[in-house]
Symmetry: none
DNA sequence: AATGAATGAGAATTCATTCAT
DNA sequence: GATGAATGAATTCTCATTCAT
């Protein structure tokens, strides 16, 4: 039941937004009563928290898997991360949208649990960029922080436009993003 | 008064979110009453609409100014657009955040007014990319749509992290984004 | 309207108790809506607070009037205070009952506003007892604190049983309480 | 288990009040579940009833013990009753507070079981006063009903202020109350 | 141009209670 | 004896909105 509530909520939050979705709306789609909701979650915010946490935790876990592979060059790992993010939009997309949009709603206290994880993902990516610079793969004249923000911006933004099943496949987008990123769009 | 209400609302919407900000909150910070609000706006949604429209209209106007300059190369115009977006985060940043976050809230009908403008901005950018390809500035093997999404993602994402007055200046960020974009991050 | 809400609430609280009376109940008896209630009171607790404060403030004001009369003997003043309390049960009785019963419900913070006033009333009474002892009216071998608790207990308890319009008049009760108190019930 | 539930409930009811204490609260402090509660009690009201009944029954039983002693003078019996009440505040105090406060909550039907017992206690006391008058111990010019209410008020009120372990011992208070009551506070 | 009282619909949340296991 | 999932009705409270003045 708890799982069903989460699933259903994600769908609704994505479509209408968190604040615009009532507990009533959630339980109605499941054919249960509000009491049931509160049996599993102590508040609406806790549910959002649950969604956020499982999204970011999943992301970090898979990122660390990518980073662990010592033999791969930094560029391959960057590709992995971009793919990972875009894939998530396709697959777990609803969670992702909820994650990026409904952050402000969490209380200070809950944010203290989420923000560090979000930062960790960025930090890991930045480390990767630095590594690439050190081992001569990436240009040393670029600021790793800005590069990282650029990479994440490119990939994360896809939650705003990427349509699974549309003209562009997930792989095509990831490949092209990596291509752009590594060699630039200008003709040499 | 109308202006003051808008200003004040943007600040509040950015901080707490649209749904979490009540009309009471808005008028209280101005020391007026709810009646006053409804003298100027017919609904809360109309106010949000106002904010959205003036943001996107301003953006488009300035974009078209950039595009109009026939002599400039495409790369310079791209730079202009990136600068424009990042500048807006710095300057009109609150509007921008509200714009990106509180889209889902608008009714179908209001969205029909906003979405085409948003698309226009992207379309204009995509045209620019295509132009650059045609005149030999940009690589012809890249999909213009994806490139455009990448560019806008990079720049727009800055609303999530860019801090005016922080370590990175607006210009440093714009420059490096353009640099990355044109020549890539890989060592040749 | 605010006044009407208070009046109506006192009646309901007295009959059913605070927790058992809903805002719905209150507004229904007045033919208004819940919104109206919250226009005047920010919470149910605030309403209870209002009732408590105006009760205890009235009591203290009238007590101080009684005490001010320098020429009267302590015994007359004691009589005044007993009369005052019993009169209040008759007259403002509902408030009184609410006051004595629904104290625990107030939050710590609200209690900090009420308790000192309640204590002041007792303190004033105790001072009076001490004065009576000093000027030779009252027995010096009695503990003024206990005597005071006894007096207040006798009088306050009447909220549990005194029925205005019943066999016993307010004056008969006050007189007899004072008589008992001063000369005792034992035959000399 | 039933005993534990009662004990625990009294403590909670006294601290927060009956309506403000949930069954959840009660079972949580015992580490059991709500089902357990309903195995022993058919409703929350029944639990309150249980508490009330065992309090008042105990009181009456001990009062009748005091009254039975034919040889003792009325004044000694009055002392016994005052002691009894004050002792109960010290010892079973929580029950007492709950008893005095949470009466209004019981349904008509349950009240019909409690009120007569409460009245019996008062009636027994009043009989005692009348006896004292008849046998010449007490003044014949006082109304026995009022005297009784005065006595009970003095003693019962102690549930509002008496603090076991404070400056005043139970015996000191009882003694002084009896002294006041019998011979009055005025200097002869 | 602005106020302030009032509305009414709906929100989140609580909680006593039931019942199959 | 006890559990835990589920209910459903009620509760407090919020808030966009209206409207006479």
């Amino acid at each position: 039941m708890k799982g069903k509530i989460i699933e259903s909520s994600i769908r609704l939050f994505e479509r209408r937004g968190f604040a615009e979705t009532s507990i009533q709306d959630i339980v109605e789609t499941l054919g249960v009563t509000k009491g049931t909701f509160y049996y599993y979650f102590s508040s609406k915010e806790e549910l959002l928290m649950d969604i956020h946490l499982s999204y970011i935790d999943g992301l970090i876990a898979r990122q660390e898997e990518i980073l662990r592979d010592a033999s791969a060059p930094a560029s391959a790992k960057i590709r992995g991360i971009i793919s990972l993010l875009i894939h998530d939009i396709q697959c777990q997309g609803l969670s992702a949208k909820v994650f990026f949009r409904e952050m402000k709603i969490l209380s200070e206290e809950k944010l203290r649990q989420i923000v560090p994880k979000r930062d960790l993902f960025r930090f890991n990516t930045e480390q990767l960029v630095k590594e690439g610079i050190k081992n001569g793969e990436f240009r040393p004249d670029l600021d790793p922080a800005i590069v990282t923000f650029g990479i994440l911006g490119m990939a994360n933004w896809s939650y705003q436009w990427f349509q699974p099943g549309g003209r562009l496949t997930e792989d095509a987008v990831s490949d092209m993003f990596v291509d752009m990123l590594l060699t630039g769009i200008a003709v040499k």
